[in-house]
Amino acid sequence: MSEHIDKIFREKLAKHQAPVPNGLWESIAADQAAKRRAGQWRAATKYAVLLVLLLGGLTFLYLSQSNTEAVATAENTLTKSVPELQADTETNSRSTQEITTTEKAGLSTEQNAVSEAPSRVNQANDASKARSASDQINASVPESNAVVQSNFSEETTTATKVDEQEAENTSSRQLVAVDPMLTLPLPLLSPYRAEVVAPEMVPPNERKTTEGFRKQQRQKFTFDLLAGPAYANQIFKLSDENDRALLNSREISEFPSVSLLAGFRVAYQLKGRWSLRSGLLFTQIRNQFEFEQIPIDPMETPLLIRSSNRIRLLEIPLLATYELPGKRFRLALNAGPVLNLSTVAKGRHLMPDLQQPINLEEENIYRTRVGISYQLSLTAVYQLGQGNSLLIEPTFRSYRSSFTQDDYALSERYWLAGIQFGLRHRLR
């Protein structure tokens, strides 16, 4: 009997269904939408961190490459100076040989004079002659010695002077060449010292060329053309708790889609590494709208209404740019306000009391100007030549004020994170 009771209850209640209250799904969907947003934020943070790490790695590689190039230049300078040093050494050895020859010649002269002396002695017949001859001999030996010595000292002095001059030249070259050697183990300290050439060592014709290059003026204007995808994060804020149903209905029916950033900029080069950038930007914030319309007849299939909501903005950026040093590859940091000229919203959104979505154009809920936003971006520039460069620019922009009118129940703000690709041209 007891098992029979179990069976009756199991058979009839295991598949038992009960009506679900209205509005329960909206509460679950609001929770899921919040979690979805949190997930997107986490993903955006993860990608931002990865991007920063990637750019950091590229910057590190770029700096390492610059140092390697500087070290290579220093090594070239040293390699070039080695033959000169060898030539100097040869000159020195040659002068030493000359000195040795002269010395030998002087000594042989002395020896000749000494060897000539006995014959002179023989030639002298009397003692006085012999004495005078002996005196002459004595006198001639020191004389010949003195002559030899003076010749030797003159030669030596000349040789020493030549040596000193050569040594000066060599040492001055060595100073130029050796100086970078000291920085070789620590290339980050001053790798560019290796390229410094003492002005007196530069040949006059080369000096003219160098001076001519230095006098060349760079154009101060550059033009940028940029475009790329972006993620626009929608932030709703409720002013009155009674309007929570509207917040829930909008949060569950609107999802971020791929937004677009595009623009044309002109930059003016200031002193140092600073420049100012302005132009015209076009931004299109896109959100996917999805709503499942439940038909009155329960036998009919629910109708899925889907559209793309677009908010188009025309803006003027006022950016300050600081460019990091580099050759072909450079990095620049841009920051500043962006002034909004016009805002147009098109699409649909859901009202909680209606079973049909309403058009944004019909409802005057969006402002025509949304004020000032702030932009921060990092530009990676790769020079192609002839004044043209490729640009990659990760961009972050935050809109501080609401896109909706003050009398609308929800305030709607955005922040954008995107990556732009483009071209830069410098006037020549």
């Binding site: 009756i8 199991r10 295991a14």
Partner: protein, 181 residues
């Protein structure tokens, strides 16, 4: 959308796709509401339990590996949520000493022709402990060991409460039969 298979819906819901989640909710919410009503004392409590259950289902959906029945997996999760609510409230009731045994009787009907609503009413007339053990054992198919672990009671208590629940239900059914005759 209705043409989407259960697997596609689950895959979509795992990716937090709102349409797939909504479709799963529409498909299984009435069944799970029935489960919640058996375990909760009031409809309001059952609605809360159902909402919390779906939130947990969507959060833990990645753990479902398509082995076994998806409905069974969801039911088990829902039962756990409903029982957690019971365990939270049990302490309050013990403190306040409230008598939770309902006074209402079921509608008179023939023993063999008891409908779902009548059976639900009979279950709701049981004392809370009896009801939970009976639900878990007779309808969900839990063993006494599992019930003891879930409700944090002794296996012997589970057995004795099941026997008492059966006796009470039998008596109530017979009583209703006598009234009907």
């Amino acid at each position: 959308m209705l043409s989407m298979s259960e697997k596609e819906l689950i895959e979509g819901a795992k990716k937090r796709d709102a349409r797939s989640q909504r479709a799963l909710f529409d498909r299984y919410a009435p069944t799970l509401m029935g489960v919640c009503l058996r375990y909760c004392r009031t409809r309001a409590e059952a609605e809360d339990a159902l909402q919390e259950s779906f939130i947990r289902i969507f959060d833990k959906l990645d753990l479902y590996d398509f082995r076994g029945s998806f409905e069974g997996w969801m039911k088990r999760l829902t039962v756990n949520v409903a029982l957690k609510g019971y365990q939270r409230k049990r302490f309050t009731h013990e403190q306040s000493g409230l008598d939770t045994i309902p006074e209402r009787g079921g509608a008179p009907t023939a023993y063999a022709q008891l409908g779902e609503q009548e059976l639900m009413a009979l279950i709701h007339e049981l004392p809370e402990g009896y009801r939970l053990v009976f639900n878990l054992y007779a309808i969900e198919g839990y063993s006494h060991k599992e019930i003891a672990e879930t409700l944090e009671i002794q296996e012997a208590s589970s057995r004795s409460q099941l026997l008492k629940a059966r006796k009470l239900l039998q008596r109530k059914i017979e009583h209703q039969q006598r009234i009907a005759i």
